[in-house]
């Protein structure tokens, strides 16, 4: 009898967990698409963010973005600069949230090779940090954020920086 009850209890627990998750999923806009002026993408970036952990007032999100300076290189050929800001951000609060995060920006920039003077693509890594304010309702809708986003360029040079974002959560 005991052996027969155990699978039933386990099944009931799974159903209960799934039901709770479903409620949480329905309550939270887990995806955000936003544009950021300045910020960790340089002069501006298009970003996608996904909530990966959701406790009552505390969220954990991953963010990835895309940005560029020039689509054509200095010889006027299509050869875009690519900047990819990535981060893990924590959010605390209700509709008005405090945001804090840490991440890395990957830059893939076209410049001259100063030995043979031909175009050259160079990849570099930079640390980024975020602390700021975010307005975002749990169920989704318009999102606005304003952040201080200091950057350690080339993991060598600290630079004060900031950004403003607007987007949509769903």
């Amino acid at each position: 009898m005991k052996n027969k009850l155990l699978p039933i209890i386990f099944l009931l627990l799974i159903i209960d967990f799934e039901a709770k998750s479903q409620i949480e999923t329905n309550q939270v806009g887990k995806n955000v698409i936003y544009i950021e002026g300045a910020g960790t993408g340089g002069y501006g970036s298009l970003n996608y963010e996904r909530v990966i952990l959701n406790k009552t007032h505390l969220w954990l999100c991953t963010r990835v973005g895309l940005s560029t300076y020039n689509l054509r290189d200095y010889t006027n050929n299509f050869n875009p600069d690519i900047i990819i800001p990535m981060a893990i951000n924590g959010l605390y609060g209700n509709n008005h949230k405090i945001e804090f995060g840490i991440g890395q920006t990957i830059s893939n920039i076209v410049h001259a090779n100063y030995s043979n003077w031909q175009t050259e693509r160079e990849t570099n890594f930079h640390a980024n940090f975020t602390i700021g304010y975010r307005y975002q309702k749990d169920k989704g809708g318009v999102m606005f954020r304003c952040s201080y986003t200091p950057i350690i360029e080339f993991y060598n040079h600290y630079r004060h920086w900031g950004g403003i974002s607007i987007g949509y959560a769903f």
Binding site: G42, Y43, Y69, N70, Y74, T75, N76, I83, T105, S107, I109, H111, A112, Y114, W117, E122, N124, H126, I151, E153, F154, H157, R159, W161
Partner: protein, 272 residues
Amino acid sequence: MKNVIVVFIMLFIVSSCQKDDFDIINLNNNKISVLGHGGMGIGHTYPMNSFESILNCLSLGADGTEIDVQMTKDSILVAFHDNSLEHSTDISGRIFNATWAEIKNATYTDPLYTNYKLITLDELFTNIANLTEYTFFLDCKNFNPDTSSLYLNIFNNALIKIIDEHNLENSVYIEFKRKDLIKSLKIKRPDLKIFVYSAFDLALDIVTEFQLQGITVSVDNISKDEVIKAHNNGTMVAVFNTHSKNRNIEAIEKNVDFIQSDKVNHLIKILK
């Protein structure tokens, strides 16, 4: 109704592709040379006077570019605008106090995530294809307070060397602010074309005094009548500070001979 809309769209496309018509009368064969300001100009993602900025400007179809020129302690001419290196690079100090070896690894700090480097004039001219087809204004930034004849000689000899080595006698205009440098170069090489960079009336006096080719002024510091006055004097006019489309048009309407623009793309589009 559908046809009317199509006609309107066609008219819009045709009109937007048309080159603007300007009635240009000047001393530059009645055409205005489109020049970059340190390449792509202030505010572009390529730093002014960087190799990338200058090459980008030329590859877009400009007639040439203005380049800011400074000389190191060991007499190397470097393309750089600011008085001090710390304003725009990751090192500090002044170019005339440093050797080229000391500053050659300097990197421009803007924009973020990039590492464009300083270049010498020799490196630049060596690596521009069809160099002599372009026009270059060499804006000599003599921040060195030294006024001795030794310094004047060294600076002008470095200029002459770079011009001669790259066969640029006919395509270079040298811009000076200081009369002592003009006088010294005029004695050495009277064939080189010199512009003076000063307020209009003073500049015109200096042109007359040294028989120079032209004056360089900010576009907002010269009127159309003053351009006519300069032209009547046989003096060409180059303008800078055209950092908007409206300023480009303002400069064209003044009938100047050269525009050193911060909006190179726009100027190429409307003039070439």
